[in-house]
């Protein structure tokens, strides 16, 4: 494996203190080869040729949701998620990764521009009946999951935009996967191709602000895209917003006055929205603005526990995703809340599945669904998003 200086410095800066034991994968599996400390030490061992790069090691390296909980606690403030992604990219170069399911996603994305392998033309099916522009300063980026699987999220978002009279553009079948699944799993080349397509589309349409209702897309466009643009020598001057931020802004500016929602709710910080991009307060402000009683889970904001589905874990390691998700849904149950609100289609789908499996009586919903329902009706009807 090749060790760039940045990667090597991080490996040597690790104090081996194990504050990163909070890792949801380690908490489930209990062996250090799936802990952040163990991974850093494995990289050191590979560098010093004390251990060999072997399939089991690579597999354990991928048992990570890229949730960033390790980074939050890190004694030496290491950028661990970057480290995992750099290391995974090297493993791909060595030919021992990506793992089978991740490879499959790659093939699908190369053919269809989305990891679900859905026909490109179907991407815009969900928006029929809603008003949008071809060109506008604000671009709604629905993302693959909301376009093909969790269409209710996309629908509720644009429905809300229509209600408040927000002028926005939507690229339809010219919207492409943001590339997140490929960046997270070390397949950077695929992500670069997708970046270019999206970037050109946005430039062509005179976009200034990109709004996403998916935490994963938001993180990718906000954090990864500027870096890729820089690498490719392209100018980057887009403002990037998550729907929760936009909704909060609209409420604060008096442009949106949803009716009251008198229920006890708890909020799950999606890792890519919370820890990765530090959007902790806006969703909570929206929840307070609609008058719901917010009961926090023990682990919240920076200490929030992952839902278990990110980083390619759910697609490749179902049991692990299940063990992590179970832990989180039981924590949500402890609060006694009626609703578990999140701001990410992956978290919602996975936590809902966990609630069903564990027989936990809690309604798992996205923030935008609640707000949109309250913007006209008085009561949330609990439409389910369709996820396969």
């Amino acid at each position: 494996m090749k060790f760039e200086k940045e990667l090597e410095d991080m490996i040597h800066a690790c104090a081996q203190c194990f504050y990163c034991r909070v890792c949801p994968a380690f908490q489930s599996i209990k062996w250090e080869s799936v802990s952040p400390r163990g991974r850093v030490y494995m990289l050191k061992g590979l560098k010093n040729k004390k251990i060999k790069l072997e399939p089991q090691l690579v597999e354990d390296f991928y048992k990570c949701t890229t949730c960033g909980a390790c980074e939050e606690q890190c004694q030496t403030a290491l950028h661990l998620v970057d480290l995992w992604e750099m290391a995974r990219a090297e493993m791909v170069k060595e030919g021992l990764a990506p793992l089978p399911v991740h490879k499959k996603l790659r093939e699908l994305a190369l053919q269809t521009d989305n990891p679900y392998g859905e026909p490109k033309e179907k991407r815009e099916d969900w928006i029929k009946g809603y008003k949008y522009e071809e060109n506008a300063e604000i671009m709604y980026f629905a993302g693959c999951t909301a376009s093909f699987r969790a269409v209710e999220l996309a629908k509720n978002t644009v429905d809300l935009f229509n209600k408040v009279g927000l002028k926005f553009a939507y690229a339809g079948k010219n919207e492409y996967c943001c590339g997140s699944p490929f960046l997270r799993t070390g397949q950077r080349d695929v992500a670069y191709g997708l970046f270019r397509k999206n970037y050109e589309e946005w430039k062509k349409r005179g976009v200034k602000t990109i709004v996403s209702s998916c935490a994963g897309c938001y993180r990718t466009i906000l954090i990864d895209y500027p870096k890729i643009a820089k690498e490719l020598g392209l100018e980057w001057n887009f403002e990037v917003l998550h729907t929760s931020q936009l909704v909060n802004k609209l409420i604060k500016e008096g442009k949106l006055s949803p009716q009251k929602f008198s229920a006890k709710v708890t909020y799950h910080d999606p890792c890519h929205l919370g820890r990765h991009t530090k959007v902790y307060e806006e969703p909570r402000e929206v929840i307070k603005a609609i008058g719901a009683e917010l009961v926090e889970m023990d682990r919240n904001r920076g200490e929030s526990f992952c839902c278990g589905s990110g980083g390619g874990v759910k697609s490749q390691f179902k049991d692990l995703a299940g063990a992590i998700g179970k832990n989180r849904i039981l924590e949500a149950k402890e609060t006694g809340a009626e609703y578990l609100i999140s701001c990410c289609p992956f978290c919602k789908y996975h936590l809902k599945q966990m609630a069903d499996e564990q027989g936990v009586q809690i309604k798992v919903v996205d923030l935008v669904e609640i707000v949109n329902n309250l913007a006209v009706k008085g009561e949330y009807k609990g439409d389910d998003i369709r996820c396969a």
């Binding site: 090597e8 410095d9 991080m10 040597h12 800066a13 690790c14 104090a15 081996q16 203190c17 194990f18 504050y19 034991r21 209990k30 062996w31 250090e32 080869s33 163990g38 030490y41 494995m42 061992g45 004390k50 251990i51 060999k52 072997e54 089991q56 090691l57 354990d60 606690q73 004694q75 030496t76 403030a77 023990d298």
Partner: protein, 431 residues
């Protein structure tokens, strides 16, 4: 036995490599260390006994492991040849990750912990009941209850409540002949013994009611700090010398005044700077962030009488030529544990190895000023006599009786084989 197969275990090469590690990275000395052969993760005391039975049957050595956050080599297996044994013995590690449950006895103000219970997890649950730990190490977010007891030491709260040794009520321990409960004066056979006399399977530790604590900062010298720290009935005291504050600023990107700084945590009202005090309190779990600056770190840790600390720091600062800094956690009995950090790039073999000599020089200096090393482990087993004083012979005798074949964590705490001799010589020859 049928259960054996069920105990989670691994002998995968990568795990053997991963579990043969603590926070130290000792140059040259690591030639005397070997890898563990198999790691067991028992889930209960019965399984611990089963692993001990296997070890006995196979003539294997046993190394217990909590979170592996100690830095004296206590969790690192020593080569048999270094212990002057000609035949190679198998090494079994008992990792307590899966034994992390605990209970709170509110009435008795006690916690009853399985060995792998993590201090800060315990604290969070205690706080919900209006209780709190009396003492905890600054590694509390990860280190285990039995790990700290077996290692022994001082930490947050030691100013008022002493070291962990003074806060253990009772222990349950397993060895090759079964399980026993020990309390009172017999606790000394296990606290700070790093598993060489038996494996801790349960610990009862004293806790207290939560109190409203205030944190004060002072820009004072080490001499002045002694006066403030020991003047009242304070909970915790931490001194950062100006050198350490400088490193801390660099590593954290903060702008604390680069002066000698004292933080006191207390229920009393003091005339100090609260925002400074709080800032230092908030980062108490991050003493090693300065490792970034190496990247790599060499540490020296000694316990000194409070009166000796100012002169010790003065001499130490003149002695160590590289950028370095010291922090001191004060303890009951007018003592302080002085921890000095020297960031050093561990990839540069010679300069890193040379930097390690500073730990030995710091130890020599401390000893000349009525100080003692913080711990023994493997690296400083040569210092056991000094550390245990009058108890030394009795403790060694106890060890011989419970573990006649030297299978329990061999090479730790007491001097055995070539290395302690070499350490003794090194101390003599290093200027």
């Amino acid at each position: 036995m049928a259960e054996v197969k069920e105990i989670p275990k691994s002998d995968w090469a990568v795990h053997r490599y991963l579990y043969t590690r603590d926070i130290s990275n000792a140059p040259v000395i690591n030639l005397l260390l070997k890898q563990v052969d198999v790691i067991y993760q028992p889930r209960n005391e019965r399984e611990v006994l089963e692993v001990l039975r296997i070890a006995k049957e196979e003539g294997a050595t046993v190394v217990p492991r909590g979170a592996g956050t100690s830095g004296y080599g206590g969790v690192l297996p020593v080569k048999d040849i270094a212990l002057l044994r000609l035949s190679r013995r198998k090494t079994i590690m008992i990792d307590f990750t899966r034994m992390d449950d605990f209970e709170i006895d509110e009435e008795k103000r006690l916690i009853e912990c399985s060995p792998g219970a993590v201090w800060w997890e315990v604290e969070k649950k205690l706080n919900k009941k209006g209780l709190t730990l009396r003492v905890y190490p600054t590694s509390a977010p990860s280190s285990t209850v039995a790990g700290w007891i077996a290692q022994n030491g001082y930490g947050v709260g030691s100013l008022k409540y002493g070291g962990i040794a003074e806060n253990v009520e009772k222990l349950r321990v397993a060895d090759f002949s079964g399980v026993k409960e020990v309390e009172g004066k017999d606790l000394k056979y296990y606290i700070g013994m790093e598993g060489i006399t038996g494996v801790i399977t349960k610990a009862w530790v004293k806790v207290k009611e939560m109190e409203e604590m205030k944190y004060y900062g002072f820009h004072v010298s080490a001499k002045e700090a002694n006066k403030i720290v020991f003047a009242g009935d304070h909970y915790a005291g931490l001194f950062l010398d100006s050198n350490y504050v400088k490193l801390k600023n660099e590593a954290f990107g903060t702008e604390l005044p680069e002066k000698d700084t004292l933080m006191v945590a207390t229920t009393e009202k003091l005339d100090g700077d609260e925002s400074l005090g709080e800032e230092i309190w908030e980062t108490r779990f991050y003493p090693m962030r300065v490792r970034r600056l190496g990247p790599g770190l060499v540490a020296a840790e000694n316990v000194l009488p409070a009166e000796s600390i100012p002169a010790y720091l003065n001499k130490l600062n003149k002695m160590i030529k590289k950028p370095h800094g010291s922090e001191i956690w004060y303890s009951k009995g007018r003592k302080g544990a002085v921890l000095s950090f020297i960031p050093s790039d561990e990839r540069k073999f010679f300069s890193y190895a040379f930097t390690w000599f500073n730990s030995i020089r710091a130890l020599k200096l401390a000893k000349s000023m009525r100080g003692v090393p913080y711990s023994t482990g493997f690296y400083l087993s040569s210092e056991a006599k000094l550390l245990f004083g009058g108890d030394y012979s009795e403790l060694r005798e106890y060890k011989r009786n419970v573990d006649p074949k030297g299978q329990l964590n061999p090479g730790k705490v007491f001097p055995v084989g070539v290395f302690p001799l070499a350490m003794g010589i090194l101390q003599k020859v290093i200027p």
